[in-house]
Symmetry: C2
Subunit: 323 residues, 2 copies
């Protein structure tokens, strides 16, 4: 309800961005009292919106803060489930994946979205950290409840990577690609990481948390070595709210397709792969696999050919690229 | 500490089961005050132990309740980690797996054991219930933290099944076998089910909950159709505490081997399999696989040959046996 009214007031302001609008106009348009409008205009001001108020003329919105507020992300979002239900926004959180996991355990439905402006324990793969400074990143986690076995998970991680790479390439004209299994790389540097976590029985996944961290406008000094940001690569700031909506919409399309057809986006993922054709060394628990990455399997595994020509299917692991 | 002192008093009583032992004997042997001994003797009585007290003679234990108290299970347990650390006992619980999962989330270590005399929402596979009446069953869940990928889980479930079948066959001379992937069957009827649940990233399992439900002395009227109990099959009551210890010891051996060698108990599991050589129909999510079960794969998958001779690897599913 709170989210709704804020969203509606903002939509009304923006539709009439050239003019002053009176409290009465808003209260009539939204069907709420003028006192209520006043209360929420002040709440929006507290959230960083500059809203000018001139006696006898009314309100005018001057600027919006660069924040991923749930009512901004949901505003005009063209999805059916992803981000359409509950959206949980925080300024700062330990980890969006942890929060989403708790919410999933408590029964929150597919499509529930957790957003944070910064994470103080952002999680990466293999127990690593994902550096998540305030100001310029997108840190989101989605609850998914596909009816699949755990062997389908690499496919879901890959279609998430694929949908993100596609959106980045569409809006920036960069050439983002996928470093198997779950990184997105631009000009040789990491711009986005995906962390999939699941609760499962061997038969089926109870739920899956898809965590996405993207360096959007993050200043270079706040990015660890080997990483970059969209702004760093393009010299342009990107609207994070719009990008988040684009990502959710693109991912929903691909995920719906996955639910119907399985990993039928395999060829698209192969096309975006920066790993295929490269020499690789992969650490997977206590074994090390060396060879050339030759294919992505039916369910998203990496197929590696060793020196003797034998093929190995790698389910997951820590990949170093050579040559 | 409480658990310790109860265990020590019981050990002392049982060592001296033919004689009366004085409070002073116990207090000297255990290095605690007589008041303390008195307090814990009364606690044991409240738990159902019949302890006779004769003035000037002392105490004598007459009988012990048929309960899986943590201090009974731990008493003489010859394991290194399994059941050696925290053991959580309840008369009644929603689900031992749920409790173990919560404990694992909170950081409890490998080997932590949850025991209940009954479960009101005992969980089976595929969202089913595991009927868990009071009086005669063993309902336990173990926290495991192996450093493996999710593809290794079927192997761990199978070695658990294998260790349970071995123990049942050793102590009863029945011929228990494994119905892939996770049931133990005696004379065509189910006697034990295993429910493995995991929290994982595709790269690695954070933790695994191994839930085991066994119909030991459960009366026939309380067992669902298609099931049986050890007592029903042998006409003998089985000491549940002793059986639980045997299971934990046997499982630890096989699990340690698994951690060193992977699924090297594959041949043993094949030998105990009731599925191999049979015609099967397997529902795995939205697909149905029909054919003959011909092998158990390197990591515990079932290999099914269809009518055309093609082999399919089945990771998990709901199996019906024919022929």
């Amino acid at each position: 309800m709170e989210v709704d009214i804020k969203q509606k007031i903002l939509v009304f302001f923006r539709k009439n961005a050239e003019n002053y609008v009176s409290g009465e106009d808003i209260s009539t348009a939204l069907g709420v009292s003028r006192a209520y409008v006043w209360k929420y205009v002040n709440k929006l001001r507290n959230h960083g919106y500059e809203i000018e108020a001139v006696p006898h003329l009314g309100y005018k919105i001057r600027s919006s803060p660069d924040k991923l507020f749930e009512y901004e992300v949901k505003n005009g979002l063209r999805t059916r489930t992803i981000g359409k239900k509950a959206v949980h926004y925080s300024e700062s959180i330990d980890s969006t994946n942890n929060r989403a996991y708790e919410l999933a355990e408590a029964g929150e439905p597919e499509g529930t979205l957790v957003i944070a402006e910064s994470q103080f324990h952002g999680k990466g793969r293999m127990g690593r950290r994902w550096v998540s400074p305030k100001g310029g990143g997108i840190y989101i986690s989605l609850i998914l409840r596909p009816d699949v076995g755990t062997d389908e998970i690499p496919g879901i991680t890959l279609i998430a990577a694929e949908s993100i790479a596609k959106v980045i390439n569409r809006i920036t004209r960069l050439s983002a690609g996928i470093k198997w299994p779950n990184d997105i790389v631009v000009n040789g540097r990491k711009i986005c990481g995906i962390l999939t976590e699941i609760k499962a029985q061997p038969d089926r996944v109870d739920f899956l948390i898809l965590g996405i961290g993207i360096n959007v406008n993050t200043p270079p000094g706040k990015i660890p070595p080997g990483g970059t940001s969209l702004k760093n690569e393009t010299n342009l700031s990107v609207n994070r709210v719009g990008l988040t909506r684009d990502l959710l919409e693109e991912f929903e399309k691909d995920y719906q397709r996955f639910k119907k057809e399985g990993f039928s986006l395999r060829e698209t993922c192969k096309g975006l792969s920066l790993t295929l054709g490269r020499k690789v060394e992969i650490r997977e628990h206590d074994r090390v696999i060396k060879g050339t990455a030759v294919d992505i399997g039916e369910k998203g595994a990496l197929i590696v050919k060793n020196g003797k020509g034998a093929l190995q299917r790698v389910f997951s692991g820590d990949v170093t690229l050579f040559g």
